[in-house]
Symmetry: C5
Subunit: 277 residues, 5 copies
Amino acid sequence: MHDPRVPEALEGWSVLHQMFRIRWADWRARPDEERRLLAAEAAGALAAMRREGEGASVPVTLLGHKGDLMLIHLRRGFDELQAAQLAVAGLGLAAFLEPTTSFVSMVELAMYEMTLQIHRRLGERGLEASTDEFEAAFDAEMDEQKKRVAARLFVDPPARRHVCFYPMNKRRGEQKNWYAESIEERARMMLDHGRIGRHYAAQVTQIISGAIGFDDWEWGVDLFADDPLVFKKLIYEMRFDEASAWYAEFGPFYVGLQFSACELPKYLAGEVPKLLS
Amino acid sequence: MHDPRVPEALEGWSVLHQMFRIRWADWRARPDEERRLLAAEAAGALAAMRREGEGASVPVTLLGHKGDLMLIHLRRGFDELQAAQLAVAGLGLAAFLEPTTSFVSMVELAMYEMTLQIHRRLGERGLEASTDEFEAAFDAEMDEQKKRVAARLFVDPPARRHVCFYPMNKRRGEQKNWYAESIEERARMMLDHGRIGRHYAAQVTQIISGAIGFDDWEWGVDLFADDPLVFKKLIYEMRFDEASAWYAEFGPFYVGLQFSACELPKYLAGEVPKLLS
Amino acid sequence: MHDPRVPEALEGWSVLHQMFRIRWADWRARPDEERRLLAAEAAGALAAMRREGEGASVPVTLLGHKGDLMLIHLRRGFDELQAAQLAVAGLGLAAFLEPTTSFVSMVELAMYEMTLQIHRRLGERGLEASTDEFEAAFDAEMDEQKKRVAARLFVDPPARRHVCFYPMNKRRGEQKNWYAESIEERARMMLDHGRIGRHYAAQVTQIISGAIGFDDWEWGVDLFADDPLVFKKLIYEMRFDEASAWYAEFGPFYVGLQFSACELPKYLAGEVPKLLS
Amino acid sequence: MHDPRVPEALEGWSVLHQMFRIRWADWRARPDEERRLLAAEAAGALAAMRREGEGASVPVTLLGHKGDLMLIHLRRGFDELQAAQLAVAGLGLAAFLEPTTSFVSMVELAMYEMTLQIHRRLGERGLEASTDEFEAAFDAEMDEQKKRVAARLFVDPPARRHVCFYPMNKRRGEQKNWYAESIEERARMMLDHGRIGRHYAAQVTQIISGAIGFDDWEWGVDLFADDPLVFKKLIYEMRFDEASAWYAEFGPFYVGLQFSACELPKYLAGEVPKLLS
Amino acid sequence: MHDPRVPEALEGWSVLHQMFRIRWADWRARPDEERRLLAAEAAGALAAMRREGEGASVPVTLLGHKGDLMLIHLRRGFDELQAAQLAVAGLGLAAFLEPTTSFVSMVELAMYEMTLQIHRRLGERGLEASTDEFEAAFDAEMDEQKKRVAARLFVDPPARRHVCFYPMNKRRGEQKNWYAESIEERARMMLDHGRIGRHYAAQVTQIISGAIGFDDWEWGVDLFADDPLVFKKLIYEMRFDEASAWYAEFGPFYVGLQFSACELPKYLAGEVPKLLS
């Protein structure tokens, strides 16, 4: 059903963020040879997870106590995410990883403008909402869109050094309530919101994923940039647009350094791991 | 007493959701033979819990850190739920299961329309509320209804791969307060809310359970679907109806894959377990 | 001082609720003989705690992860509660009990109507509030009341199978604020609230205790019933009365099965323990 | 600077509340002789902390799971508090103490009336706020006050059996905001609030400490009484005054029994420890 | 892009606050010689982290249970912060340090007045916002400013004994919403807010860092003073200015004693460590 109040969305990768604290003291207490073997096993497993068209698993070393290591798994579906979760749990290294949090979602493109347009277009063709003919025509339009944006739905995470992840909600307050605003109002605010993002497009890559029905927040945001100051500037600036000022609720922020799977052994030996190009 | 402000409800299964994190590293450290025995014992116990008319215990492997394994126990009463809880605690496998959360409730059908109708009908018959005659006539009507919907109150969980569970409340805010709205208003909003559910009826099976007096949220919602995207679409669409936009408060979401009890040993060996038909 | 805004209350038992998770795996790992001895010691200690006029200690096995075992200690004062707490901590079984939460309170009867009446009566006798004569006359009236309701203040917990415990507050919101309402309004709302309770009087026994100054919520509610469905019906119905809809804030709910102290060894052996009459 | 909106305060002892859970099972597992030595060492150290003019360390055994033992350290400054903290951490007993929470503050007397008076008086003398002359005259007045109330700022905790501690804030809501009220209004409400306290003065000793800049709540309140029922009556009555009803936010409550340092070994052996006079 | 609603900010050091609880009992259980070696290693590593122009790592011993040891790392960038985090995790002492919390941010100077001035000045020069010419002229002005305040952006933490750290947000309430106020209003309130700080300038050194995009609060505040009472007076006074009364939300407060890295071994031996000049 295509409810005219609801912006259509297109979905791509299924996504699992895993955050782990490393039990450094226990790890360092193990013999050198054991550590070498376990680090190599883990690095190999992570590297093998980046397969053409099947998604990747991006390793990030976090700043602060919320976690040392974040893995972002992108997969075709939930069975594949469960396989990734089990593969990590099955590593010898897992005995030294303490899960601190996680996030389950699907890459998503919200289509506010498109939703309004299609409803208008089908209305002009004389199709009535909720009829089979309307629904079929709508689905056909959406399939078309999906093909057009497939590259963004099944995006390859960019090789940028700094990563910022946070979940967020739209507020459902007793007075300010996103879900009680008209779709025209919401579309207008999201357009304004998107404008800021586009000004930073060269400096930051953004992947939005939807988590309604999957996790405790409605959306997850992953930002990738060469300079972490861009995260601060961009998010601060957005805080003043109407959609964020009145309607955004932010969860915890995770910030860190993306690195190459093959650098994992160096990281586990206490060196800052590199992102190799 | 049948208070005209209060929608009648019919209750079925007593339900216990148990979420566990698996201590994978400790588990993997045990000898193969021990693991084989413990896994077989647990699989056998779970399989034996599905008995005609006595309820079932549905195993689900969760995505993310909130738990690895969810068991949904449906039973005739609280003594039987306690027996299930003790049976799980008594498994050899329990030494590797860390309880992370749980939910206690009863399968429930809310009867908004029916409540209004019976009050109207009994009023037309000249019966006065709170009299013994009224109460008896009301109870008789409800017994009739209960027989009619018994299959939905003592439902067998469907063999669909994806499971989504979340608890929720109706808001009692200082301005927006569900319990201060008239029953006519609430009935109207629930009707609208139910309409969305019915559009998705073919794609998703929904089991609502009431937890007032039993747990920290007022209701629990279990959804079963072949495609997890349906959870996202359905819950997002519902977020725009009046009952949800203004009055719903959502707890944590749990999402995962239902599997067959006999697949538990494979799961414990690190494979994604299947749902066999 | 008897402030006319403040409803008088009469207090009885000092109460300590203790919730414990049982470390089942550690417990089961102990030799049979040790378990038998420790279970017998604990059962004996619990049974000995039920002494005529000195209060009791009621064991309840809980559903869900919030705790396996709840002990409700009723005593003459806080020294006696501390003695009970130390006695439990001194059991050999205590090594397998992990305290998850607790609640400290005093059995309480709130006297809204009585407060209004006495103030009125003393006023009619020409006594002026805050004078020594007024205070003495007031105290005399309250002593009289206390004798009248002594049995309810030092109640013996009923032998009913199902137990529900939850703490609650009256809301002090920015707009809806219980403590800013007049005592007449509060008395009216509590009367209405109490009416629902009285409809269920045959089916459920209620013990209210006050925790202001002792614990993080203002009141604790213990309900005892043969059928747990009564908890759900009663609390749901109350949610619609004015005092609850606008002013009640609820804490976590604990639900379980009362059992006899002599059944503790069976429980610790994995059986659902009985409540013997 | 003496801002006319800000009530002056006078400060005395620096205060550290430490709450500990005792690992009873681990403790009881130690040989008698070791326990005897560790208990004697701890009792001696605590007793030695009560030194004329240098402050004291008050031991309290708590009811419930939030902690078994609370130590209230009163000292001349933060270096001395850190020394007390290190001294406790250095006891052999510390291996059996698990810190659950704490509170850092300074004994404080708020001078609402005095602040208004001094501003008025200096104004009448023709002194202008913010000038050096005004500031010096103000400081001189405050020094005078400080001498006058020195005994209350460096109070010796009274030898009363029951202790109640809780932290609190003044609300800064979107509508009800303590810090946006005029000082005259705040002074009026605090006067009313203080009146209730004075009615209970014979039954309860109150020590207020300020924690702004030191801990997560703005104030800490310690109450000492022979009868714990007084805590309940006093705090309930206060809940109806304007300052509390609309502006108070309460943190967790801790209640227990003060005891003499020399009784610590008995406590550690499982007896309720006494407060010796 | 220079949005006229957004106050410009200049950034300096990248900052990581790490809070640790020390496992005192485990530490004390180690042989003297081992402790001596580990303490010396840690003291040496900390001392070596203070390098001209490359930032410092400031050790602070905290009061209360939220942590025993706080390290404030100031660095040139996030790679350098990650190196510091790994260096601490790699110490032998790390086995006795339990991370309790942390904070990731960048030293920041907010330029409210300057932002308004530059926009005005460029407007007077006839430059139009969002044009390349405008942006370039704006960037040039900011670079100029950055040189002027470099010493404050890359500040050396002062050798003052007492340290207070807390994170904070500006409120985005349903009625009171900082981000929905005009920049002129915000600039006016911040000016007023700053005035209080300047009155205390001689007594307290303040370092503000921005955490938007990096951590769960928007800003972190570090205060350094000889007398801790100044923290209380300053923050209490600020609570009455409009920017704080209506718009500030405060996180947890951490307070303690700065000490010299070479005093770490004494601290680990149970003495209060000194700040050597």
